[in-house]
Amino acid sequence: MAVSDSKAAERVLDVSADRRQARDRAAGYLLRRHHFQWPEALPWIVAIAAFFLFPDRMTFGSQVLVMIMFALSLDLILGYAGIVTLGHAAFFGIGAYTVGLGAARLGWTEPVSGLFAAAIVSAFVGFITGWFLLRYRGLTLLMLTLATAIMLQETGNLRSDFSGGYDGLPGLEFKPLLGLFDYDLYGHTYYLYALAVLAVVFFFVRRIVYSPFGQALTGIRENVKRMHAIGSPVHRRLVTVYSIAAGIAGIAGALFTQTNAYVTLTVFDFDNSAKVMVMLILGGTGRLYGAFLGAAVYMVLEDHLSKLSPTFWQFGIGLLLVLAVLFARRGVLGLFEDAGQYLKRFRS
């Protein structure tokens, strides 16, 4: 390249300014997503508003928060890492029974430490099963995850003298929260408790998905062949996130037992695994808030419609799934994003 000296110097200056700018823009792009943005406050405002608006529906409200947390844990593995599982209820169930059996058989009735125990036990089971199962993909993985959940259920049934079987472990009692706040009839305490736990879990999940590790998970989802080729320890990454998601699902299950003071083996049902997946899909995968929207909308609709006619509700959910796959593959939040893009283009 024959360029005169002065021109070359000029270009270097230009380029370095350009470069600086390009770098800043790039860094800004990556950082921006990690920074808290104001629409993110919305779900929390709604959750707190619900506390004041529907004081007599707080038991139901806690169920919604539990399902949000469960869906969030699924989003980590399905939405970010692209692991398709039909047995995520396994970890919800483990968490639910860790707390349930702890209270019924060991007299461990302190709620917060119960959550920690549930998280650790579920994450451990997630680690063990994940280490074996996550080498596989497709139908084999679907069947293995499904079979794991049902085997846990059958094991519980086999030892129903210990687990309570399908009749469940009823009438569990837990100690007052932090030794201060007792369980009340309308579930106010537990609603706030569940909300606080959800906030902590959410903060944790949010950090993970925007970390380099989270980026690597997206890479595995997008193209696992390439991940191997660039030297990513894919199996280790998958087992790590699977264990974390299992731990969070376990916390959700533990909260479920604590708020209901009751648990049966139906928590391991295929229906439970399918339901949480449907919630997440309808809300939108791989975008954190899909879990909030999907679980909340699903639960509220189910609450209203299934009272009117469970048959039509089931039909409607089926139809929604078919339509979502055909026309809205990125869920309701995806639709919102598309609408936003469209509006932007329309305005400009």
Binding site: L78, M143, D271, A274, W313, G318, L321
Partner: protein, 290 residues
Amino acid sequence: MPHFAIIAVSILFDGLAYAMFLFITSVGLSVTMGLMGFVNLAHGAFAMAGGYIVVSLTRNLGIGFVPSLAVAAVTVGAVSVVFERGLYRRLYKATDLEQVLLTIGLAFMAIATATYLYGPIPKSVPLPEWLQGDINLGFRSFPSYRAFLIVLGVVLVTVLWYAFERTNIGAKIRAAVDNRRMAESVGINVDLLFTLTFAVGSGLAALGGGLAIQLFGLSPSFAVLYLVLFLIVVAVGGLGSLKGTLMAALVIGIIDTGGKYLLAEAGGFFIYAITVVVLLIKPAGFYGRE
């Protein structure tokens, strides 16, 4: 005859009947999954639809059980073509997840429709006299219905084996399962082939659904409850393998029956344990391609 031998023969007999039901219902699923890699969780819904058609024909129209089975198989087979051409076809290249969601959605809709039309209470079916009694073999008598299932199963296995291994179409299907691109490049119309096998497979599922009524009763939840079993048979046997499906059906049918005779409390534990063990050792199933 010693006690344990009687039990062993009983397990073998009941297990065989159960295995034949599993084989008939699952074989279509195995071939469609092997051919197109399509995860069809609505397969159980086709079986359920067949069952309800048999219930309606026998109860409301007074048609015989065996002709009803045939009508159900043909009807469901024909209707399934509409689904294949209209819906499934769009998703052959989609991800597992999308296929799972679409077909779960269809299964939910089918269950809801069945609940609406027939109610949630399990239905039974009137059997002709020759299927009602027992066959006495001296040391123990066996229900004729199960004997019928075994005979029918053996006949179907033979027919399918012949169609698969000895006919031109069978050879094309095997070629397409083995390597779709290669099959297309030598001029096999894989699309048409798939529609055909899908229809036959769904028809067989409907036949299985009709046969299941007498065994388990028929309620709308059949579509999901037994789907898991069909999927297990397919996964353990290996996608697209007739031999594998038969082997898996036999293993699962006999071991599950044995488990129920010997340790009823264990429920389905043995089936799932076998599934996990087989898939961990041979992830593609008995006869699947790695």
